[in-house]
């Protein structure tokens, strides 16, 4: 059973709807026993880094998530802020993330250019996957996804980068470190492209 973590931040309704459309069983929960029994976990996220980590702490979920990710090694998918929480630190906050991926989160900075690009990076953009298997199976180079973020992931290990997007430069769109997966875009708001991502995750 796929469990979508409910910690008060993120579009759990849409993720659930889309997984159901993809033919997968899923539930939304923040109950430790349910999370313990999950075969896969999805961590959504809309909001701010520090608030997200403290919400997880308040619900007593940090230790449990570490266990499920690092000991049990179940597939975990972080979405947008959820993916950013898998990194070590973020410029958006002062606290630490889970640190499962050797990466940090930085703010987009275009101020020094002539016609600086707008921040947040908001809209549909192409993603260039680095693997045609796993999460991006069946998705071609013309796949578009919805992005909505002012901060982006910077990986220190190139091998952790699963996909990139272009916005004045090349940025990380998706990460994978073993069982830990993260996408900067919102699959639950990316029509049939997002549907494919979630369906692929369900089949991992």
């Amino acid at each position: 059973m796929i469990v979508i973590l409910d910690y008060g931040m993120g579009n759990v309704g849409s993720i659930l709807n889309m997984l159901r459309k993809a033919g997968s069983e899923a539930v939304v929960s923040s109950t430790p026993s349910v999370i313990k029994g999950a075969t896969k976990l999805i961590l959504p996220g809309v909001g701010a880094f520090d608030i997200a980590m403290s919400r997880l702490r308040e619900r007593g979920l940090v230790h449990l998530l570490n266990e499920r990710a690092l000991e049990d090694r179940i597939p975990l998918l972080g979405i947008c802020l959820g993916a950013q929480l898998f990194c070590r630190t973020s410029e958006e906050g002062v606290g630490e993330g889970f640190g499962w991926v050797d990466a940090d989160v930085r703010r987009f900075r275009f101020a020094n250019e002539d016609r600086p690009l707008k921040v947040p990076h908001m809209g549909w953009n192409r993603v260039h996957p680095r693997s045609s298997e796993g999460l991006f199976a069946g998705l071609t180079e013309s796949s578009r996804f919805y992005f909505s973020h002012s901060y982006h992931v910077v990986c220190h290990e190139e091998s952790d980068v699963l996909g990139t997007f272009e916005y004045g430069g090349q940025f990380v769109a998706a990460v994978q470190k073993g069982n830990i997966l993260g996408v900067q875009f919102h699959p639950e708001k990316s029509h049939l492209y997002g549907l494919r991502i979630l369906a692929n995750f369900a089949e991992l």
């Binding site: 008060g8 579009n11 759990v12 309704g13 849409s14 709807n17 889309m18 459309k21 809309v46 909001g47 701010a48 608030i51 802020l81 101020a111 600086p116 707008k118 921040v119 947040p120 990076h121 908001m122 809209g123 549909w124 953009n125 919805y146 992005f147 909505s148 973020h149 002012s150 272009e166 916005y167 919102h186 639950e188 708001k189 990316s190 029509h191 049939l192 997002g194 549907l195």
Partner: protein, 254 residues
Amino acid sequence: MLIPRVIPCLLLRGRGLVKTTQYSKPVYLGDPMNIVKLFNDKEVDELVLLDIDATREQRGPNFEVLAEIVSESFMPFAYGGGIRTLADVKKLFAMGIEKVILNSYAMENPDFIRVVAEQVGSQSVVVCLEIKRNFFGGWQLTTCGARRGVEGDVVEWAHKFQELGAGELLISSIDRDGMMKGYDLDLLCKVSSAVSVPVVACGGAGSIDDFRRAVEEGGAAAVAAGSLFVFQGPHRAVLITFPERATLEKLFNA
């Protein structure tokens, strides 16, 4: 690179969708569920839904109607109309709405923008500026469905909203609304060059070439339209349409 978003802007009145002309003479279009589903099937980039009576009727969002409408949409959904509390905002996000569009209440209590942005992040907060041309050819910011004027320079207001945490500004021209004669490009240009957040053009689109102009000449990051997507022909028969993806990509030279 990002291709400019093309966004149907839908107006909710009670339980039905309507289309206005210069913010008046609403014409009934149909049931929101059906129309949203049609746009969903056409894979539109994003949807904006504005409840045009909420503030006037002094109430918050109609959550019951919204929940139904949003449950079937797999693209980003932005909602505005009567949002006055953080509790409203949280409830909207929990049901699957991507962004909240703040207007009347935020004009009177600008700090609300900051409070919401701190909670949900700027990328999820849109401030809608409803603007009318004044006697001297300049612009006046209005509120409460264009019934009340707001003192101050429109561009300064836009900048202030950005500073408070708005991640996007929806610039709606009251005079151009429903007229299908083009966007107010001067207004768009003035605002977009003064802020670093995306500006969404609204009011006046009569053809897809207006989209291109709003982006190239107005500096808009995205374009919203109502009449263009819901009416057809000189007699404005109700018909839901949306351009093909290939057409839009060619238009923006992607």
